[in-house]
């Protein structure tokens, strides 16, 4: 009888006892109730940016290795495919990470802040920040996968909803994506209040303008570039770092020249997959990864006294030219990675002014005066591009500067053996859409040549 009773007892509890516990997860539906929740999701999106598959390494390294700054020595077998322009649809890149940032940003953007507990204005500010991230991710996708330098006009799908109606979106045109980016940035700038900006490691109001100026320069929308740059400059929040601090600023966080940098720390870093670890060996002799080596003639670009030359150095008994100064913490990769520096805005401004007949000279000399080199008396487009190259070297700008100005790109094998040049325009300037995307979504069109 006792056993039978025990049996009945167990029987009755079975049906109700199948509910799993959610200990470290929460359901998406119904768990966003406070403005603070939006901030938490925003930080999650920042965290995705720090991944080695995005700005934590690949976004910057892939662009540098494809430019005339660097080549891959293949020490650990990394970035030879990209450096030798051998990628195909199986070569992974930023597609998944960028759209993942967009998915999280969309959850923030599409939340009705009026239903949340907390300061509504702060909620809108956070939504603006999410729009900036969405614009940044769309721009990253566009410059990687868009056909603007491959002789076509296809861009990437614009996604504005998480789990929206259309889960199989086709590619929008380059112009459509560009328009969506500008739209997001303008809306964001209008929604945000810089009094809420307390940290350089979280997207801030003026980053909307800095990004707009970057996008405008990329597409040659010079008027927009001028006004966006001026908005940043006129905020008075930022300044160019001085010559004495240029090299040391890379070892510190939150410099006065930084608009936005990604947070890394001793406890939160990419370890061997860090950007620093791909730029150099942990010790002088070959070891670790250190695949991204600097083309040996790059050192000759720098004039005497240019403090930026001190970023470079040698390893392996003085035989390999290296980026030693930017992201210097090789052991753990704990340095913050700046994504928006004031100097870039100044250079964007200078170039836009040059293109629109303004006073580019003053702007370019603002940089040069702080780098230990002589002041220009006159300035050409080439001077500005060279200045950009030196100022922003190893930060992932050079490849885009080359393609947006229609230049051919020289490239090298693992022993710095020349493999020739990639002529402009070229199918290789539009990265292949990942094969997983092509297979999952037949509305997707592959770029030519893959």
């Amino acid at each position: 009888m006792l056993l039978a009773a025990a049996g009945l007892l167990l029987g009755s509890c079975t049906a109700d006892s199948l509910e799993p516990t959610l200990s470290q997860n929460k359901s998406v539906e119904g768990s966003v109730t406070k403005v603070e929740n939006l901030y938490s999701i925003l930080k999650g999106a920042h965290n995705t940016l720090t991944g080695s598959g995005y700005y934590g390494r690949d976004m910057i390294a892939t662009n540098e290795v494809r430019s005339d700054n660097c080549f891959s020595n293949g020490n650990s077998g990394r970035f030879t495919t990209q450096g030798e322009y051998e990628y195909n649809a199986n070569t992974g890149f930023v597609w998944d990470n960028a759209y993942y940032v967009i998915a999280n940003a969309n959850i923030i953007i599409n939340t009705d802040v009026t239903t949340l507990e907390g300061d509504i204005a702060y909620g809108e500010h956070l939504q603006g920040a999410a729009m900036i991230l969405r614009a940044l991710a769309h721009f990253d996708l566009l410059r990687v996968y868009g056909q603007q330098h491959a002789g076509g006009n296809l861009g990437v799908p614009i996604v504005t909803e998480f789990k929206g109606e259309d889960l199989f979106p086709p590619r929008s045109t380059v112009d459509e994506v560009k328009a969506a980016i500008y739209n997001d940035l303008e809306t964001a700038f209008g929604m945000m209040d810089s009094s809420f900006d307390t940290s350089k490691t979280i997207v801030s109001k003026y980053m909307a303008k800095a990004l707009e100026s970057r996008v405008a320069v990329y597409f040659g929308d010079w008027g927009r570039a001028v006004s966006a740059s001026e908005a940043v400059i006129n905020s008075g929040l930022y300044s160019i770092i001085g010559a004495d601090s240029y090299v040391s600023s890379w070892a510190g966080d939150g410099g006065s020249n930084v608009l936005f940098e990604l947070a890394f720390s001793g406890a939160d870093n990419q370890g061997p997959n860090a950007l620093s670890y791909i730029y150099r060996f942990p010790a002088d002799e070959p070891g670790g990864y250190g695949d991204l080596q600097v083309v040996s003639t790059v050192i000759d670009l720098f004039e005497d006294g240019d403090v930026r030359a001190d970023i470079l150095g040698y390893q392996d008994g003085g035989t390999r030219l290296r980026n030693m100064g930017k992201y210097p913490d090789t052991a753990t990769g704990a340095d913050n990675i700046p994504l928006f520096r004031y100097e870039e805005v100044i250079l964007n401004y200078a170039e836009a002014l040059l293109e629109t007949g303004g006073d580019a000279l003053t702007q370019i000399n603002l940089i040069r005066a702080n780098r230990g080199v002589f002041i220009y008396a006159s300035v050409t487009k080439e001077d500005i591009l060279n200045e950009r190259r030196k100022e922003l070297m190893f930060e992932g700008f050079r490849y885009d500067d080359l393609v947006r100005t229609g230049q051919s790109i020289p490239y090298w094998g693992s022993t710095e053996n020349s493999l020739g040049t990639i002529g402009y325009p070229n199918n290789l300037f539009a990265y292949p859409i990942p094969i997983s995307e092509i297979n999952a979504n037949s509305n997707m069109v592959q770029n030519d040549g893959y």
Partner: protein, 1017 residues
């Protein structure tokens, strides 16, 4: 009570006792079998009392009984004999074999059935056969012994997991591992390791093989539908040993042996090879005008020190080998029983070293199985297995530069392992000296596992039994790593350490009611209803950090910089109700088996949680028909068929909900992110399996065996359906897609000689399985959403994870450049890899044909047993070829290569397997050159031994003494000469996250020779 009363009571008591004693007498005698040989362990009961005894070793017994009482003699396999006590004080009994009872009883899940009553495909492997493979984990022993079952070890590192596939692959991205059941209770038996980078540790390795009575493999639906949702991949039932009533038997089993890699594997280039090839590469690239000049330049550069030191060869393959690694196991057990109870108790120890330095496995285990009749009709039984395992693991699942096996292939032969004074050479570079690291770093897996299974059975009325079972599988796991602050990857951060603890608690409750009834002798029924509830809770805690003040401090307490902490909790639950009906007509001439199970699983949402699973099985024992009953040559002939529906739910937890995850931080603050896409509609993956077969025993069972055909349709696959990644997610689990596995199995055994002095039997099995995807999801344009990687593609009309890549066309004899077919098949070739079309290369990594061959021979006390295994029809891909087996910079400048590279193009006209060497590093390109036929054959075990005759043993008080020499994996034959690695590789797709079937840098299977002894007394 007064003193007077007390005395009165005592007198009465004495009187009654005397009265009783007066009627009783001592009866004794001898019990023999039908051949007249003494039968020990026969149970003798005085009917109607609790008075009973057993015969001793010589078949003698003594019992007190009164005249007119009935003595009941019973023994398994013998007809029960009743004798009335008469005048005589001696009752000798000769028992007779009971043909029906002698028939083998096989555990078929929640019940046991006589062999002739089984309607499905069930294979039983006895402990002796299992013992032929000496390994920590018993699943290894199934290879070759069970038709339709493939076993592939993921690594030869002791304690590692194996992949088992029963009748092909039933799922693409849900799990394919069978369900393990120990003594009737489903348990978890996968990898318990927390770090995928390190050696795996199988929970099954916690079970001492010496405690296992038998393993039964259930393959068809009539057997597996009882396990409902978890039956699709087949079920492996492990029955542990129990005791037998009678004298306590002590048993000692010991083996001690040595092992080496089963096959040599690729041989690294020597430094002299390297010089030659590097010089050639420099010349080919036009860097030097001649090879001589290139050689001179190299001797003046990287090879200078080596040259000056007299050109020593480092031979890292030898430096990291643990030659003649020890494998030993010892177990001591006692079993027996007395009035109303039986027991089996054991202690075991096992130790195995890996064939590479720095890794080993140790296990101490104990068990106690106990059964006690609490009353006439209530039995309590408890089986308990406890073990503690320690595995010195290493980074082995990828090319980790700290791993000795990576070093073996990756390190430059110019670097010497030792300095001249014999100390370790602590050179710089990517690959630190593993000799130092294995001594000074730590990575340990520890698992304490306790499986305790307790049940009560109550025969509360004629034919009725009620039972309750409560089982706990408790797994306490600890993993720790430590890298020293002095040398290697720990040095830049002044050392690092991590430690993770996981506690897994599985509970299973079962309540059941059995009702056996006969309408008459011709119609017998067995009915079982059962209720089951299982819960699994997992608690996880861990931390890591860097920077120690000094060497040899491994605990987190001493860390200067903590870098991470983590803890988590997960749970899942299964509830089920089940009914089983077995109907046997005319002495099992016709058998019908029905099963129905309703099961709920916490992996699905409330509305989709419950599923129904059922099966129908029927058997016709033709040998019991009148027209065959008197046949001289047909001993057994059974036609059987079954059909049923089983399920599979081996997907991640909580996949049905859209979830936020919080396991992220940014700038030192907690952060959240959408973590699971979710699918409310998620429910069971189901398989419909048809199984038909013939079992036969002919010519006095000289020839016996079975032939079976099966066809399994799996539908509503729990598939990680690829999403457009614009959603932010790569895939979503959906119930979509269909898959078919069909094939046949033949088992046959010949008892060629069977005399008192000599016996010879030869047995074998062969099975074929064809796996094909029959349907996949489509996108809105109606196009199939295939899943393609650089090596494989999942597409309808092909097996799951079919190899898919460009086809290598060989080396151009004029230019020395490797070429590929543009269309992927034939005709025009190209040197541009990206121009070559990827095509299906035929097959996947799972064998389509497996076969086993058994031979056992004995003459007087000498015996010889052998088991062979063949697997074929599958292909595997060579991992790491870019760095180790291509004619580029890696093998000659950065890393190291195999001697296979010596077959390379040097000048126009050369026909070579490899192209011209270059000093440039090449990007990854995967193509058919590195895809190999993986067919192989292995002599799994060969044992020769001698049983000392029992007469000789009696004088020293032993009942059994056996000595033997056992070899495992002594011979391996591999079909493809270009396949340098062991063909046995990990074939698991890890829920669709990896391409299964790539050779890696794991420890290969080992070849061992052991000396063993079994002693009973």
């Amino acid at each position: 009570m007064t003193m007077k009363n007390y005395w009165m009571m005592l007198v009465l008591l004495c009187c009654s006792l005397t009265a009783a004693l007066a009627q009783e007498k001592n009866v004794s005698g001898t019990v023999t079998d039908q051949n007249g040989l003494p039968l020990p362990g026969v149970s003798i009961m005085v009917v109607g009392t609790t008075n009973g005894t057993q015969t001793d070793f010589d078949g003698n017994y003594a019992i007190t009984a009164s005249t007119g009482q009935i003595l009941r003699f019973s023994y398994i396999g013998q007809k029960t004999v009743d004798r009335t006590v008469g005048a005589s004080l001696i009752i000798n009994v000769q028992m007779e074999d009971d043909a029906q009872a002698l028939e083998e009883v096989v555990v078929t899940g929640y019940t046991s059935q006589r062999r002739s009553d089984i309607t499905g495909s069930v294979v039983k492997v006895e402990s002796e056969k299992l013992g032929e493979i000496i390994a920590p984990s018993v699943d290894q022993a199934l290879q070759g012994n069970v038709s339709g079952l493939t076993v592939s070890a993921t690594s030869g590192t002791p304690g590692s997991t194996s992949n088992i596939r029963i009748r092909g692959i039933s799922s693409i991205t849900a799990g394919n591992e069978p369900l393990y059941v120990i003594d009737g209770v489903p348990v978890s038996n996968g990898n318990v390791g927390t770090s995928g980078a390190y050696s795996s540790l199988s929970a099954l390795a916690g079970l001492d093989q010496n405690n296992i009575e038998s393993i039964t493999v259930l393959k068809d639906a009539s057997a597996t539908a009882q396990y409902g949702a978890r039956g699709s991949n087949g079920v492996i039932l492990i029955t542990t040993k129990g005791g037998k009533a009678g004298k306590t038997v002590f048993s000692i089993n010991s083996t001690y042996g040595f092992q080496n890699d089963a096959i040599t594997g690729p041989v690294p280039l020597t430094a002299a090879n390297r010089l030659e090839l590097a010089a050639e590469a420099y010349f080919n690239d036009g860097i030097y005008p001649s090879e001589q000049e290139a050689t001179q330049a190299l001797l003046g550069g990287p090879f200078a020190e080596w040259d000056a030191n007299g050109r020593p060869e480092a031979r890292w393959d030898r430096a990291v080998a643990n030659k003649d690694a020890i494998i030993q196991q010892h177990s001591f057990s006692a079993s027996g029983g007395g009035e109303g109870h039986t027991f089996f108790a054991s202690l075991g120890y096992m130790q195995q070293e890996a064939t590479v330095i720095g890794s080993d496995f140790e296990r101490i285990s104990g068990s106690l199985n106990f059964s006690k009749d609490l009353t006439d009709n209530i039995t309590f039984s408890s089986s308990n297995q406890a073990s503690h395992m320690l595995q010195n693991a290493f980074l082995e699942t990828s090319a980790y530069f700290e791993s000795p096996r990576t070093v073996k292939y990756f390190i430059s032969p110019l670097l010497q392992p030792y300095n001249e004074d014999g100390s370790y050479n602590l050179f710089g570079g990517s690959l630190p000296n593993p000799l130092y690291l294995t001594e000074n770093n730590t990575s340990e897996n520890r698992l304490t596992r306790i499986v305790t299974n307790n049940s009560v059975n109550w025969d509360f009325a004629e034919g009725f039994t009620f039972g309750s079972t409560f089982n706990v599988d408790f797994q306490l796991y600890n993993f720790r790593t430590y890298s020293n602050p002095t040398y290697g990857y720990g040095a830049p951060t002044s050392g690092d350490a991590s430690q993770y603890d996981r506690t897994n608690v599985f509970y299973v409750f079962q309540n059941y009611l059995d009702y056996n009834f006969d309408i008459n002798d011709d119609h017998r029924f067995k009915l079982k209803v059962l209720q089951e509830y299982q819960s699994n809770r997992r608690y996880f805690l861990g931390g890591d950090g860097q920077n120690f003040a000094d060497e040899g401090l491994e605990n987190l307490d001493n860390l200067g910089t903590p870098t991470g902490v983590s803890s988590s909790f997960n749970d899942w639950y299964v509830g089920a109700y089940m009914g089983l009906l077995n109907y046997s007509a005319f002495d099992s001439r016709y058998v019908l088996d029905l099963s129905y199970r309703r099961e709920g699983n916490s992996r699905f949402s409330k509305d989709n949680r419950w599923g129904n699973f059922w099966s129908v099985g029927a058997a016709w024992n033709l040998n019991k028909e009148n027209f065959l009953a008197d046949s001289d040559w047909v001993n057994a002939l059974k036609l059987r068929a079954s059909y049923g529906v089983t399920g599979n739910a081996l997907i991640g937890l909580n996949q049905f909900q859209s979830l936020f995850g919080y396991a992220a931080d940014y700038g030192g603050e907690g952060a959240q992110y959408v973590d699971t896409f979710g699918n409310e509609d998620l429910t069971w993956e189901t398989s419909n399996t048809l199984d038909v077969g013939v079992d036969f025993g002919l010519f006095n069972n000289v020839v016996s065996g079975s032939v079976a055909y099966f066809n399994r349709d799996s539908k509503d696959l729990l598939l990680d359906v690829p999403l457009s990644q614009t959603t932010g997610f790569a895939s979503q689990v959906q119930n979509i897609g269909e898959l078919n596995n069909k094939g046949f199995e033949i088992d046959i055994n010949f008892n060629v000689i069977d005399t008192e002095d000599m016996s010879l039997s030869i047995g074998g099995n062969i099975s074929k399985v064809k796996n094909e995807i029959t349907s996949l999801p489509v996108d809105p344009n109606g196009e199939e959403r295939t899943i393609t990687t650089v090596r494989t593609r999942i597409e309808s009309g092909h097996p799951a994870y079919a190899w898919y890549m460009p086809t290598w066309a060989g080396v151009n004899p004029e230019t020395g450049v490797e070429e590929f077919y543009i269309n992927g098949v034939d005709g025009e070739t190209t040197t541009n890899f990206n121009e070559a079309e990827a095509v299906f290369q035929g097959g996947n990594a799972v064998p389509t044909t497996t076969a086993g061959l058994n031979l056992s021979f004995s003459y007087k006390g000498f015996f010889l047993n052998a088991t062979g295994y063949y697997a074929g029809g599958h292909k595997i891909y060579e991992g790491w070829h870019l760095y180790l087996n291509q004619t580029n910079a890696y093998p000659i400048l950065a890393f190291q290569g195999y001697t296979s590279l010596l077959d390379r193009w040097q000048q126009p006209g050369d026909i070579a397997r490899n192209g011209a060497f270059t000093t440039s590093a090449e990007p990854w390109q995967r193509h058919s050159k590195y895809l190999y036929d993986a067919d192989f054959m292995r002599l799994r075990s060969l044992t020769v031994g001698y049983d000392v005759p029992s007469k000789a043993l009696e004088t020293v008080g032993l009942t059994k003494l056996r000595v033997f020499l056992r070899g495992n994996n002594l011979l391996t034959w591999v079909k493809d000469d270009n396949l340098l690695f062991d063909p046995e590789v990990d074939i698991d797709s890890q829920n669709g996250t990896v391409d299964p079937g790539e050779t890696g840098l794991e420890t290969p299977p080992t070849r061992s020779i052991s000396l063993g002894v079994n002693i009973n007394f």
